[in-house]
Amino acid sequence: MQPVSLRNVSKVYHLDAVEVAALNEVSLDIEAGRFTVISGPSGSGKTTLLNLIGCIDRPDRGEVIIAGQAVQDMKDDALSDFRARHIGFVFQNFNLLPVLSAYENIEYPLLLGKVAPAERRRRVRELIDAVGLTGRGDSRPGQLSGGQRQRVAIARALVHSPALVLADEPTANLDRQTGAAIIALMRQLQHERGVSVVVSSHDPQVQAEADTSIHIRDGQIVDSEAEVTA
């Protein structure tokens, strides 16, 4: 089953009287178990596309099918539950809860999924080790470096074994070296776990890692192996 399938999706923003077409009739399919990179200049529509794939925004037109389910008309609560089950997020600004420890941040999606305590403990510990933060579980985000925070975020995105992990410019707030390490980690975990990962970036370092590359400009896909040609 394809994790992501978009059909003629459009999204328009209204700025006062001006209409901005952030996405224009986009159709694409992403195959399972791939590391997909969306690239394009700033303002080209990468974030908008990822938001639609992540089910945190709705298209104005078209169909969004995630993990086999058409989501564009789902009710808000059902969509929330859907995200909790199937999608993991990594953000540019890490977006950890500052009052929770690294351990608790990673555990949070499991609390939402009502996973039993023993199973929660096992999975969180496993991921803390997997992202290389062994021994740092009790640290608050404020006590961690940017790279470490993004590792916590990656663990949080993977802990509930989602079908799809989305990362919107995950290295934009990291220095080059740390960014490379983070991408390597994501690539490795994606490979080990067979999860589908979609990353947006205009960083050539990231694009080099792609199984599949999608180029976007002015809200349209300009060059992609994933593009559905009519």
Partner: protein, 466 residues
């Protein structure tokens, strides 16, 4: 998300901005303390008044219909002749007996008291009572008040003994004999003038009296009253004590005597009556039950006389007026504080929502429902309300303890002596529960709008927020 994780998250978020949380808590603490202290003060005043009234005249009184409103001091027209039988019936009634602490008759009468030795006379309001019984009524203290009631020394005293108000003692120039404090005796010249103004026959009478009286018997006065048949009657009485009655208007008129003496004065040889039968219950809460039974009893067995049952609130309109006055003040203070707390917490929560917009977006993206966001903020408010209430309660109890042990006094309007200032917070369950439930309720109401706003944020807008 489980409740423990939810509350832990809420608590940590409150601790995040300690200064703001503390300022909010402080507003709640000050507000709750003010409400509880005023409520406790009000309760103390009302319990105090109630205790005084119940000690003096019982919870309920049986009177002849119309006496309370129209009878004034005319015992003759409104006497209850059957009173011994009624009292016996109450004491023997299986429903009433367990409720009743005391049943006792009294007779009110008006008249003129004269100290003819000094050439002065004053009108008085006298009450004839069974001293032993009315003294036992003074022991009623269901609210553990500091009681200012002292037993009348009439119990065991001679038939002609009376106790008068200290104000009346001053007016009758009995200060020296009765050791009344704060007494400035009229200067001799004025006294002479007063004496010469008196009618000749009274002068003659008083001259005769003072000549007869040995120095030790200077406490004797005469009481002039009109009998049931309308003829004047005089009794020679011995004032054994002057008593500060508290309220000056009463202090200047008050006289207490044995019921038998009062009846002799009013009814002479005819069958005696009383103007009231006081019924004191063990607890005020028993009033409705006792009243119902009492009315049934009077209606069946004693229907020959038109009698009515009056409660202490009706007999003492000041009680209801004070209750209402303090109630409206309490309401005003409570609303004022409620509004202040409402806006303080609303502002605190509103700011928290603003500051945490990105977090809200993150939680929503990860899969927390709108209701989860709302619950998170309501939970924070609930926690804030609970902590504020607990701290406010502790603060109110501590201050109440300090006030109650400070020995501060005040003189209520119209009273002639000072009362201890006391506040009843700890023992006042309705006040405690009401204020705390109210405080937490206000907290939740004020958090409702910010929480709703947080829940309704669009995820992508919240995530883009900086």
């Amino acid at each position: 998300m489980n409740a423990r994780a939810l509350f832990s998250l809420a608590l940590r978020n409150l601790l995040r901005n300690r200064r703001r949380s503390l300022a909010t808590l402080l507003a709640m603490i000050v507000g709750l303390t003010a409400i509880l202290l005023f409520g406790g003060y009000r309760a103390n005043i009302l319990y105090g008044m109630q205790t005084g009234f119940v000690q003096q005249s019982g919870h309920l009184q049986i009177q002849r219909r119309g006496y309370f409103l129209d009878g004034g001091d005319s015992p003759t027209a409104y006497g209850i002749a059957d009173y011994p039988k009624i009292i016996a019936a109450i004491r023997n009634d299986t429903t009433l007996a367990p409720l009743v602490a005391m049943v006792t008759p009294s007779l009110r009468l008006g008249g003129i008291a004269g100290n003819f030795a000094a050439g002065v006379s004053r009108s008085v309001m006298a009450i004839g009572l069974v001293a032993q019984e009315s003294n036992r009524m003074l022991a009623w203290n269901d609210y553990d008040m500091v009681s200012y009631a002292r037993p009348l020394p009439l119990a065991g005293a001679d038939e002609d003994a009376v106790v008068i108000g200290s104000g009346l003692a001053r007016k009758l120039q009995l200060c020296a004999v009765l050791n009344v404090p704060d007494c400035s005796q009229a200067p001799a010249a004025a006294k002479a003038a007063e004496t010469t103004n008196a009618p000749d026959d009274v002068l003659a009478l008083s001259a005769q009296e003072s000549a007869q009286q040995p120095a030790a018997a200077r406490n004797r006065i005469e009481m002039l009253a009109s009998t049931a048949r309308g003829a004047p009657n005089v009794a020679s009485l011995s004032v054994i004590e002057a008593k500060n009655m508290g309220v000056k208007a009463i202090d200047d008129l008050y006289m207490a005597m044995h019921l038998s003496q009062a009846q002799k004065l009013i009814y002479g040889a005819s069958p005696p009556a009383v103007t009231a039968i006081a019924v004191q219950l063990h607890h005020t809460a028993q009033m409705p039950a006792a009243r119902t039974r009492l009315e049934a009893l009077l209606g069946s067995e004693f229907s020959a006389e038109p009698l009515e049952v009056l409660d202490f609130q009706t007999l003492n309109p000041m009680y209801g007026q004070t209750d209402q006055f303090m109630g409206s003040m309490f309401g005003f203070i409570a609303v004022l504080i409620g509004v202040i707390v409402l806006f303080t917490i609303g502002n605190t929560m509103g700011t928290a929502v603003m500051e945490r917009t990105t977090e809200i977006g993150t939680l929503r993206a990860i899969g927390l429902r709108r209701s989860g966001i709302r619950r998170l903020f309501m939970c924070e408010a609930l926690l804030l309300g609970a902590i504020g209430s607990a701290a406010g309660l502790a603060s109110a109890l501590a201050i109440a303890y300090a006030i109650n042990h400070s020995g501060w006094t005040w003189t209520p309007p119209g009273y002639s002596y000072a009362y201890l200032i006391l506040v009843r917070v700890g023992q006042n369950t309705p006040l405690l529960v009401g204020s705390i439930v109210g405080m937490i309720g206000v907290t939740l109401i004020s958090a409702w709008w910010p929480a709703r706003r947080a829940a309704r944020l669009e995820i992508v807008d919240a995530l883009r927020h900086v």
